[in-house]
């Protein structure tokens, strides 16, 4: 029984519960619903909640815990001898799951009966071929231990799926009966179901906390795995990035960090003056009509997906810079470069800088402007000598927020900056960033035991800490500034 069918059944039980609850409440009141404490709908709602919600929670927990239990069980069956040289238990377990899945497909397609399966062993020479025939390709031969574990895994999966269906349906029915039996004229159904709904609200707001916990936990655990395989000292202080498939890689973060900061610097160098000046012009000088036209147009840039900017860098900006600047100046010959990525990222950041600065400039009290004009300053003198100093902390905050966007940006650098990790000053040279390497180390066939893959989590950790730090500082600066004038 699949999960979706189970979901449907639970929801159907809930809906039935609603109808039954309404009927029972009406019956309890003898047809005169005024005798009830709550409206009949609330009685129905309480039955619905009690039958569906606990069953759904149980289903969710079961789905999370089942693979954990199965892995543990299969892991216990695998002897140390079954783990090949240089492999790990995780890899063997992945094999077990694949074989189990393949056996399932074999039985389903009629290539093997249940009795056959019980009789065969791993010694069966054509097992690999038969598994391949149903689309499960295996790298090596299936060992005896793996096969036994896979058979047991499959068996246990079937048993547990049945148990899951039985348990959740039973939970739904139990909740239904429990809630139905409580219905009476004195039953405070409204209060009970409102309390229940409030609990759901609280649980929903915890999702955000759980997400953060999940992010930190996954980054931390895998980073610790990485640092067990690769010395943290080399990661933090080595100046070369040179991953090898056969081990012996140099995985120093500095070339990536340099590329990240260089691209972000170029981006900010472009975005901050353009964004700030257009914000100043729009808020201090522009006519109402120009403002109504230009402000939304610039903000459209913020709504464009980064993949579009990436394509723009790859197809238009990269070749343009190469043909008009890099090659005539003899600085480089590739279309991927720090300049390409930085310039396009700068375009992406214009609306961030301009709309944040716009808010901040508008928050500077009019009395400051009037005072300045009263002393005979021109408009630009007022802007430069009064408004900008007053708005400076806020603008710094805006720039920091933009910097954090730039550092975390992925698609533009993946498509525009190149993949070569190096420490270089030439902006027309291809360089790479932390995010590019996270993508390249984690896409494709990844096995989660090698430092070359796990380094992505350490890089992710660095990225997370970096952007979080920038954001906290930026928000602190912005908030502190706002308090001054409110």
């Amino acid at each position: 029984m699949t999960v979706s069918v189970l979901l449907f059944i639970i929801l159907a039980i809930g809906a039935t519960g609603y109808a039954l609850g309404v009927r029972r409440a009406r019956a309890a009141a003898g047809g005169d619903t005024r005798k009830l404490h709550s409206l009949t709908g609330y009685h129905g709602q309480s039955v619905l909640l009690f039958s569906a919600v606990p069953a759904l929670v149980l289903l969710g927990l079961w789905l999370v815990l089942q693979p954990l239990y199965l892995d543990h069980r299969a892991g216990a069956m695998i002897a140390v001898a079954d783990i090949p040289e240089g492999g790990s238990l995780d890899l063997v377990l992945a094999d077990v799951r694949r074989v189990a899945e393949g056996l399932d497909l074999l039985v389903a397609s009629g290539g093997m009966t249940e009795d056959d399966l019980a009789a065969t062993g791993a010694a069966d020479s054509d097992l690999k071929a038969r598994l391949g025939g149903v689309g499960v390709a295996l790298a090596g031969e299936v060992g005896e231990g793996v096969f036994e574990a896979a058979r047991d895994y499959r068996h246990a999966t079937h048993g547990l799926s049945l148990a899951m269906a039985a348990a959740t349906i039973a939970a739904a029915l139990a909740g239904l009966v429990f809630a139905l039996r409580r219905i009476g004229t004195d039953y405070r159904a409204r209060n009970v179901s409102e309390g229940f709904v409030l609990l759901l609200f609280i649980a929903s707001s915890l999702v955000a906390v759980l997400t953060t916990v999940g992010i930190v936990a996954s980054l931390l655990i895998e980073s610790i795995h990485f640092f067990r395989l690769y010395p943290a000292r080399d990661f933090l202080f080595s100046l070369t990035w040179n991953p090898q498939f056969r081990g012996g890689s140099d995985l120093g973060i500095w070339p990536l960090l340099w590329g990240t900061l260089y691209v972000s610097f170029v981006a900010l160098l472009f975005a901050v003056p353009v964004g700030l000046l257009s914000a100043i012009y729009l808020s201090e000088y522009a006519s109402r009509r120009l403002r109504a036209l230009a402000k939304p147009a610039i903000e459209v840039l913020a709504g464009i997906p980064t993949i579009v900017y990436g394509l723009f860098a790859l197809v238009t900006v990269g070749p343009f810079l190469r043909d008009w600047f890099a090659q005539p100046l003899g600085l480089g010959s590739g279309s991927s470069s720090v300049m390409t990525a930085g310039l396009v990222m700068g375009i992406m950041l214009i609306p961030f800088v301009s709309s944040l600065s716009d808010d901040i400039i508008n928050a500077v009290p009019q009395s400051l402007r009037d005072g300045s004009y009263g002393l005979g300053a021109t408009q630009s003198e007022t802007v430069r000598q009064v408004i900008l100093p007053a708005a400076l902390p806020g603008i710094v905050g805006a720039v920091l927020l933009a910097a954090s966007r730039a550092i975390g940006e992925t698609m533009i650098v993946v498509m525009g900056a190149g993949a070569a990790a190096k420490l270089d000053l030439n902006p027309f040279e291809a360089m790479t960033t932390i995010t590019v390497k996270i993508v390249s180390q984690l896409t494709g066939d990844t096995e989660f035991a090698s430092p070359e893959t796990l380094v992505a989590f350490a890089l992710g950790m660095a990225l997370f800490v970096f952007t979080l730090g920038l954001n906290i500082v930026a928000l602190y600066v912005v908030r502190k500034y706002r308090e001054q004038y409110e």
Binding site: P67, E194, V197, L198, L200, F201, A203, S204, S205, L206, A208, V209, T211, T212, G214, I215, S218, L219, E222, V274, G275, L277, S278, I280, Y281, A294, I298, V300, L301, G303, T306, V308, G310, L311, F312, L314, V315, T316, I347, I350, P351, T378, S380, V383, R384, I407, G408, E409, T410, T435, I438, V439, L442, T443, G460, L463, F464, T467, L468, N471
Partner: protein, 443 residues
Amino acid sequence: MTDASAIRPGIRASLMTPDTRTRRRNAAEARFRLYGRIAIAIGLAALVVLMGSVLANGLGSFRQSFLTLEVHLDEKVLDKSGARDPEAMKKVTTIGYGKIVDAALKATIAAEGIVVEGLTDKDVSDMISKEAAALVRNRVLADPALVGQTVAFKVLANGRIDGYLKGRVTMDSAERDSNVSPRQLELADALVARGILAKSFNAGFITGPDASELRPEAAGMGIAILGSAYMMLVVLFLSLPIGVAASIYLEEFAPKNRFTDLIEVNISNLAAVPSIVFGILGLAIFINFAHLPQSAPVVGGLVLTLMTLPTVIISTRAALRAVPPSIRDAALGIGASKMQAIFHHVLPLAAPGILTGMIIGLAQALGETAPLLLIGMVAFVRDYPGGLFDPATALPVQVYNWTQRADPAFVERASGAIIVLMVFLLAMNMAAIVLRRRFERRW
């Protein structure tokens, strides 16, 4: 005592003629304004160039070169038994059909009297897309009665020939290209002149599945659109209820204490976490820990849900806050419970704002690429996904995939897919704006 004679010489005290200092200050003022204008012009020019480059590169992909051929479906090749048994006919592979299509083109060339110097058989058969044979085969298997007849087929031309018609391939570049010869381009000219080779609207680009690296002419984004649609469904069904529930709690019920402060700080931080970190989360939790299938829309949907949740919560809270307290007070005053006041009065009044925020969150999720790369949505998928757990790809990821391929024809495809993506985004944003204009109430 003021000393009137202390006025320095050179500064004439007249308002009618500006002195040098005033002129300098006025010039600085004019310069400053100019800088502002330039900045705005740069911003707007960037938008125009960006859009222009996407449109210029991508519009061509909606029209594709097709050859109109009279194909004689030879019974001797396609159905030797003559019994029209579909099972037996399936044994004839696309290679057999390919030969028939080649023969049809050759016959057409001969019938039209086109002579091209040094044209080889391979040149002729390479004019046609390798996908054409599959098309003919599918048509024949669907309707075995066609065998033995001569049927008109509109088949895809090879990607390079299509490139020639669109100006991407020229005679000069063909000299240097091993995949296409100038003879083929001459033949293409002749076929165009006779109306056999022509460009027309290519529905397969929008609805068809992706094709291999060697057949850019047949690549479509049907699976990507379907995959994106599935993901948006997951995002809608998860982040709307969760986001609204969380916002109601935080805005209407939460006491001011450390626990709720923690949640608030969390939400504002999550809004600023780089999207790729959510991809790492999805890979570690949903795929490695919970063993959900790779490349499945359900995983993508979950990751995008977590990513858009802060956006949804922030805009929902703003919408709830915009409902004046007098509405709540009135409801409570006539005996409604707090929950009733919220569900019967506050929520309906805040609904347009909530929906606007949701649509903007969905638009953000639709354009997101980076986290999807990490959870395996880059895989090459040929079968339409039947459900949330089947492998699929997503529209922005398809764009990325196409840009990674060697043939420049894929750049056109990628830009075309971007146009489709932008049309979806534009429609969603328009819906949000209309919703806001029509239903938002100012108090």
